[in-house]
């Protein structure tokens, strides 16, 4: 017991030390007065700490931007951290946010198991936790805004099958399989396509979620299978990389079915251009709104739903204009819109 307490103290001290090191990351995302200067009373200002997986992803970057704006509008203080997809860094981030005395913690868990000690720290510090996307393996949370990545993969690939008329060659370009969402999207797609005997998955290369890598892997695949009919991309960047690979190989991407997930600005722009068939969009704006709404409810003592499914909307030429409006992206020309 004693040693546990000691280890705990050491960890918190360590968190304090690293807080000063990571101050650059935190400072650039912080708005309003610092949490530490606020006295810990029940009617204190709402200080939201959001631990992100990785802010280099346009999706999370958009979400942070909206949350920051909403926080400023409502007079909350807002701090975002990012872990570059490293579960250990995320734990440190969470400890830092706790040391910084946030009174609401939003966690976008990289790994549902690795994040548990962080949630437990928040529990013992009495800080309510809102989990995003995935359910943690332990610890208490007030609300879970979840995405069903397996279902998303299946939905995306059922559209692939539909557009191919149940027959054709498909490339399943996945994200890094050590990221659970990437793995689940890929699995969801693979399982769905198994239902169609006429469809063959000719390759499932792994990419590092960058357009560069996706373009390279897709170019490699085209060496063997020049006649692929469709690509499922684990996210928009991967799908865009595949589209670029088609273009570079002298194939018009408009003649191919390319379907991905996320609905980022670059993704929707490609839908507008007609090169990207469909993106299963989970708008960062929507997610940010749900997060801020839930945070405000918890802070003022109102009840919140334990689990909220965050719906993904298929965006294609039929509904692209409305989707661009919902997302609030500054996209002006949209020739492919119907």
């Amino acid at each position: 017991m004693n040693s546990m307490f000691q280890r705990r103290t050491t960890r918190l001290t360590f968190a304090g030390l690293t807080a000063s090191l990571s101050v650059a990351v935190v400072a650039c995302s912080a708005t309003g007065p610092g949490g530490s200067s606020v006295k810990d009373t029940s009617d204190r200002q709402l200080v939201i700490g959001h631990s992100y997986q990785d802010l280099s992803s346009p999706y999370f970057a958009d979400e942070r931007k909206v949350e920051k704006a909403l926080a400023a509008k409502n007079g909350y203080s807002y701090v975002a951290t990012q872990a570059s997809n490293n579960p250990a860094t995320q734990l440190t981030d969470i400890e830092n946010l706790i040391s910084r005395k946030v009174n609401l913690l939003v966690i976008d868990a990289i790994d549902p198991n690795a994040v548990v000690p962080g949630i437990k720290s928040a529990n013992s510090a009495g800080i309510p936790v809102v989990m995003l996307i995935r359910k943690p393996a332990g610890g208490d949370y007030r609300s879970l805004v979840y995405l069903d990545s397996i279902k998303d993969g299946a939905t995306a690939c059922s559209e692939v099958a539909k557009r191919l008329g149940g027959k054709g060659k498909v490339v399943n370009l996945t994200g890094p399989l050590d990221i659970l969402a990437a793995k689940e999207r890929s699995t969801g797609c693979t399982n769905e396509l198994k239902k169609y005997p006429g469809i063959e998955i000719v390759a499932s290369p792994q990419t590092d979620f960058t357009q560069r890598d996706a373009e390279q892997k897709m170019t490699d695949v085209l060496q063997v299978h020049h006649d692929v009919d469709a690509v499922f991309g684990g996210n928009d960047d991967i799908a865009l990389g595949a589209i670029r690979a088609f273009t570079s190989a002298g194939i018009d991407p408009k003649t191919k079915v390319v379907i991905g997930i996320d609905g980022t600005q670059a993704g929707l722009q490609a839908v507008c251009n007609g090169t990207y068939t469909q993106s299963l969009a989970t708008f960062p704006v929507k997610e940010a709104e749900i997060v801020m709404d839930t945070a405000a409810k918890i802070h003022t003592g109102k009840s919140v739903q334990k689990e909220v499914l965050f719906p993904a909307v298929p965006v294609n030429a039929d509904n692209i204009k409305a989707a661009v409006k919902t997302a609030g992206y500054p996209i002006t020309s949209c020739p492919a819109a119907k």
Partner: protein, 333 residues
Amino acid sequence: MTPNMTAVAERPSLRGAVAKQGNRYRDYALVAVFATEVLFWTLQSPAFLTLNNLLNIARQASTIGIMAVGMTYVILIAGIDLSVGSLVSFTGMLIASTLIGIDSIIAALAVALGFGAVSGLFSGYLVSRLHVPAFIATLSLMQVYLAGAQLWNDGGPLSVTNSAVLMLGSGYIGPVPVPVVVFAVILLCGHWVLSQSVFGRHVYAIGGNPEAARLAGIPVRRVTLTVYALSGALAGLAALLFVGRLATASPLTGTGLELQVIAAVIVGGCSLFGGKGNLRDTLLGVLVLTMLQNGLTLVGVSGFWQNFATGVAVLLAVLLSGDVLAKMRKKEA
């Protein structure tokens, strides 16, 4: 040239002559690894040994290869440049923004080479003047550029439409992709400078023994600055080629590139302790790793096994082509 300098300038080649005895196995081993790989993938996939795929491999190797030329110089003086990956991302954003203002490839090229070189000079300054260990200096810059690339457009990409830039990254001269031509020119120039010029000899001398090199009157600081500036400028050029290939600048483009580049140089047998290595072997190192990625995708190896295979292959290549064999033989003798 002063007599003193000549003496030292000769020394590395003498060292080279002595080292050659041990390196003979390595020379053949690396070529053997390369040839074995070609044979292996040819047997595994009918698509491997086709003109199209070979050009594809050459194109993929060219961007990594351009950066590996700079990295070889850096590692030869016992340095390291971890900033190149993030530098590619950041310079890419810078290039895209420049093109929005001035729609000209000259401006893009100036920004790419200029910013890369300035960044390299800064690393070189930190290393040679302030004696910051190269690992730490360039690791810090890597983080700074990573953050910079993300902050630039709030984490979002910028698209690029300049046709000359797209031509540079995606175009062909006859059947040969333009980046391959650029890489060939840089490789040949780099090889000539390293093997024929006084500067090249200084690079080897500093890597072999920096203190002796300094006492012999070699301008260690100036050479160090130049070497890092070269690495930075070549990373900037690679950034321009990536932008032209992808028609977009993303803050993610350079993710993990530094490790691919360093791995290629090390597989090429360059010693991390400096003074040993050359650009022919670096080229082989780049090709060995590029063909590995290409082959794995062609054959359809997916998921975790790709990472696993890459790790094992790097280890094997280093064991077969590095000092290990030579050292073992020495012990036996």
